[in-house]
Amino acid sequence: MKIALVGQPNCGKSTIFNSVAGYRAATGNFPGTTVRLAWSRVRLNGMLADLVDLPGIYSLTPTNPAETAGRKFLLHEDVSLIINVVDASLLSRSLELTLDLRELGIPMVVCLNMMDEAERRGIKISSQKLSEFLALPVVETIGSRGVGVKQLFREAQRQVHQPPRPASLVAWNHDIERSIRRMQDFLDADSSAQRLPSRFLAIKLLENDEEITREAGIAARNEASRLREQIEQTHGRPAESVIMSERHDCAMRLFNNSATLTRPRPDPRAALDNLLTHRKWGYIFLAAILVGFFWAVFGIGSLIERAIAGKLGLLTALLLFHIPKGSLEYSVVASLMDGVRGGAGIILPYLVPFLFGLAFLEDVGYLPRVAYLLDGLLHRIGLHGTSMLPIILGYGCSVPACLATRILPSRRDRFLASVLATLVPCSARSTVIFALVAYYLGPMWALGIFCFNALVVILSGLLLARIWPEISAGMILEVPRYQWPALRVLAGKVWLRLREFVVLSWPLLIAGSLALGLGARWNFDHYANAALRPLTLVLGLPSSLGTTLVFGVLRKELALVMLALALGTTSVANVLSATQIVVFTVFITFYIPCVATLVALVREIGRKMTALAAAYTFVLATLMGVAARLILPIFLGS
């Protein structure tokens, strides 16, 4: 049994999801959809159900691939129940989606979320009246505090087998209703069996929905366009605009009949926005927030690293105490422990605060403000503000960043944004920058690398935009109000990403460490390094680092641990010069994205474009590495 959480963006859907799913949440691909959805198995009064958190959609007429994926899931995945999460403070707009969802004929519960926010804005809603008018159960919740969530799922349990009943207040204008009926009759008369309710199909056909029109038969298509013309003649504007206004009026009627308005309380967050989106101060705060974020992650990370490293070293020494040096067991245990230490001692200390900080910025609602501030600038490199969202997410992990490009309607914008998002250092690469450059050369150097990267990303954007010129349609982006994210939700989000590291990369790291240890024992690494000598020679790195660069393709953070292993020491500064450390980091940061990202890229922009992007990043990384090698000694004087 599948239960879908559906709602408009920023309605607090994920908060509801997290308060039920907790740490059992996972992301996974569902057949038929290519998008990764967060889901969790939940128990409803003894019944097992898969609760799926769909991406936010404004309506069932998609305007970008992310919405298309969400709708596809609803239409084709055999959903037993829809929980429609509604932001009560934006009730009238949100009801438009609710009305659209009703037409699917799937059992449904309306979750009136953020009741506290609605109250603050002076909107008093009678959920009982709303429930009567919609002929659907309505449950009030405050997701951020967990209020009402239990009742919501109790109601969900009760509704599973109850498809929506017809409701009186949601009838449309007579002539529109007549057109819908006619279209519906036409579809019903068609012999081929349909799985979807004919009324839903009829409305979408009249709305000129691309996908549904494409899938309809020729006769139905002709009938639809005839009816559309009719509507256009009587109303003087396109049929889809008429239907949209109808739905809007309907939602407004529901709103007026079930809510009363009083004076809103003053909102201190408006003052915050005056500052954070200010023409001048907005940028100063943006820079301050980014630098502060950077310092905090590095500060906390190095603190944890110092605390953990010693203890792990002691543990390793204890384990190796009784094993004779030079024996096979010694090599095996030592390299296994190196892998464990690399994960716990070097990567996790930076990864956890980084993911936490990013999740916080994301959930507090700051990213759309960044998009707003940078839109003008991005236009100069052929992008627009919305493209900034996937690129910022790229600082966390390139894979979700590639998926996030689906919020962009244009194919070309998606291509540009996904290539640029993979160039941005992900948390794994940032770990390399923190643990290597910041730790050994000082945080200013690391900051320099981040700035240098940003510059290269901008230049790459300029270059790519020139190769594929297109006038961007421009940004249309909702800027949600600030929300203080619940710790539980943040933790859930961090854990979802962290788990990927713990179950996927860490074992790989340990296995890689073992392979390298045994390879060194039997001199296998010698051949690999010899094969890669041209590259290490060009970059001016010791040839023993050849294999570590290869490991970076698997997972970027592997390169870091492998570096320590290959050099046979954890105090890298004794073996590598400052220039070499920077060259290594720059190369790792820019060159071919890791395997997981490549797979995601293939899915988003196709095999050919991915190969092109990989080749581009490799050339770029080599050029940047060589440039760093030649330029840095001038400043360092060595």
């Binding site: 309506s59 007429t61 707003y372 236009h379 909702e478």
Partner: protein
Amino acid sequence: MLWTTLLSGKRSAQKEIENPAEPSFSTLDQIRPGREVIVMRIIAGQSATRQLAQLGIRPGVTLTVQRTAPLGGPVLVDCAGIMVAIGRGMARRVGVQIIE
């Protein structure tokens, strides 16, 4: 205030049909922050028109221009309590009339 904003949707939409040749349209990108406007006409592609409509921006509704970003950046409008950032190029396609 909120009442009029919420309710004005339908009333002004009718007004537009009655009198489609409104004399003095400006476009949204020309409006100074703090001004209130009625959306008269949106001349954009199907997808963009839909996107705007989903956020409540359609002919007949009242918007308040909150602020604009420098460097030809977007216009931030308040539409019945929803903040929407509209790129300058897109704002040029939204015909509005200033409410005095």
